[in-house]
Symmetry: C2
Subunit: 340 residues, 2 copies
Amino acid sequence: MKLKQLSENLGLSQTTVSRALNGYPEVSESTRRRVQRAAAAGNYRPDLRATRLATGKAYAIGHVVPMVNKNDVINPIFAEFIAAASLTYANYGYELMLRIARTEDEESIYRKLASSRSVDGVVVHSPLLNDPRLPLLKSIGLPFVIHGRVPGAEDYSWVCMDNQNAFKQATKLLIDLGHRRIALLNGQEAMTFAWLRRAGYEEAHGDNRLDLDESLITSDDLTEPYGYQAAKEMLALSDPPTAFLVSSYVVALGVRRAVERLGLTIGKDVSIIIHDDELSYFDNSGVTPQFTATRSSVRNAGVKAATMLIEKIRNPDNPPESHMMETQLVIGSSTGPCCR
Amino acid sequence: MKLKQLSENLGLSQTTVSRALNGYPEVSESTRRRVQRAAAAGNYRPDLRATRLATGKAYAIGHVVPMVNKNDVINPIFAEFIAAASLTYANYGYELMLRIARTEDEESIYRKLASSRSVDGVVVHSPLLNDPRLPLLKSIGLPFVIHGRVPGAEDYSWVCMDNQNAFKQATKLLIDLGHRRIALLNGQEAMTFAWLRRAGYEEAHGDNRLDLDESLITSDDLTEPYGYQAAKEMLALSDPPTAFLVSSYVVALGVRRAVERLGLTIGKDVSIIIHDDELSYFDNSGVTPQFTATRSSVRNAGVKAATMLIEKIRNPDNPPESHMMETQLVIGSSTGPCCR
DNA sequence: TTGAAAGCGTTACCAA
DNA sequence: TTGGTAACGCTTTCAA
């Protein structure tokens, strides 16, 4: 069923039918109802391709995910973020186009998305330090929101978990509990999320006049074996850590395994704080304090980024907007300082 | 830069320029080269919206992911599958539109995708037993490929890991090794992948005239705590299992934890076989046999589904095609029968 | 409150 | 081998 046929059936012009269906005010209520009824009965839906061409809009947002990890193409956090964004777009009549980008293709992908008019804007994932995509997108003039922050850069829109503060507060908590040897199991520090986490960790050390020990800091792709291996090696040091600050739950599972293999007890001999999206995956809350960005925060971030971008598209002259997602400190139970 | 301007610059008609750029044979090579050069110089790219309307194609494939899990919206396997598909579509000039569907919205989403002509076809994820989407999509006439199989249904296109055979072979291996009490930690059995895995497990038992013990079979969302809890309870039985057949690596991490907490050794006291996408996440190969669909298989499945669907769109009258992805049995090291 | 007609930027048919 | 022109199915301007 096309607009033409529908309007002929109704004995109205295409103009009137279109207006009735799109909620224009200058249509009489009785006509509108009649049109709506007929449209529903005839199962009419406007051809999105025609609407796009006629309106000059794409009614689509691109999500460009770079291939950065060895293991995943899309990590679970991104998947949740993107899923939430997708649901949000649907509410606004927008589609989500997903693009996976090899680093060498990334620039041409953005250029093509812009010049072929297939999207109205993009969400940029996995920002890096000095990320070249920022100036690129500005020069292209394609509206964008970054999922993450780029330290040092300004004048762009982003939505981000407060990684730095999260790790600062978590580190501070451990220090206040008496810990002095706190391990940081971080992600790849070329990505700003990891860089910021380390910054928060270092800040808390500085505030408390504690020296950093590089042998307690590692960064890698966030897998279970990484957590196990790193924790195992650190625990074998002559002066081992008494607490672990861990960037993801899978890594924490590895840490837990290393700890338990030594016969140590989490929450008594060793404290673990996890920064991740899914508290429930780690089932010994009540034993160890946990600092976490909950999965719902990730979803909220996706929703926020989506609405921000749509707003930006509708109002291109508004200044860049940014939003820091709150994280929350969840303490399973009281955990005294480590003393083994 | 639009086609009109480009053609004016060149002193050619839009027709000729379009033909030159789209590789039509009736253009002289010299003209084609001249056009291509000018297009590249002027950074011309056809407006995809116009192309779509003119050709009647959408140049887009929809991936509709139902919200089935409590924890993830998109599970990591889907993410990899979808990522691989996305890369494949890009090669063919197609876009991937991602839609997350609440169960109650699913039908209307498919109808809308079809009638608004925003996709040329869809990939259906997470098939269920007697999945209503099959007849729905057939009646709508929207080309589709299912990621997974629907037992009992016929005459549709699918790409699937060979879940049933994988679990049959894995179970058989354990039986041949002397195991008689084999636990199955499965996913939600409303989803066909889990149903098929159980079928394979049961088949191997039947072939060897072993009775099933329902107390050794559980199914749930695939999380670490699920694996831990289920394994812990089973190991406390008066006649505990000597082997575990596990549907995902996170679950296996939980099983391992339960096993190790009892002071048991994997590969000696207890065998574990994992069916999952990422061998490397479980780092004690060499100790326990592992049966696994590797992550590359998942990616291959995504590529396969994408190419099949595009082929189907180009050739709507071809009969349904299906493809069973091979899985491989990876044995870390020789593992004798359990005997504790 | 309604309608006629001109776009939107391509592709594709029919002539030349 | 090239070009004129009519689609494609909407939205939107202008007129009634």
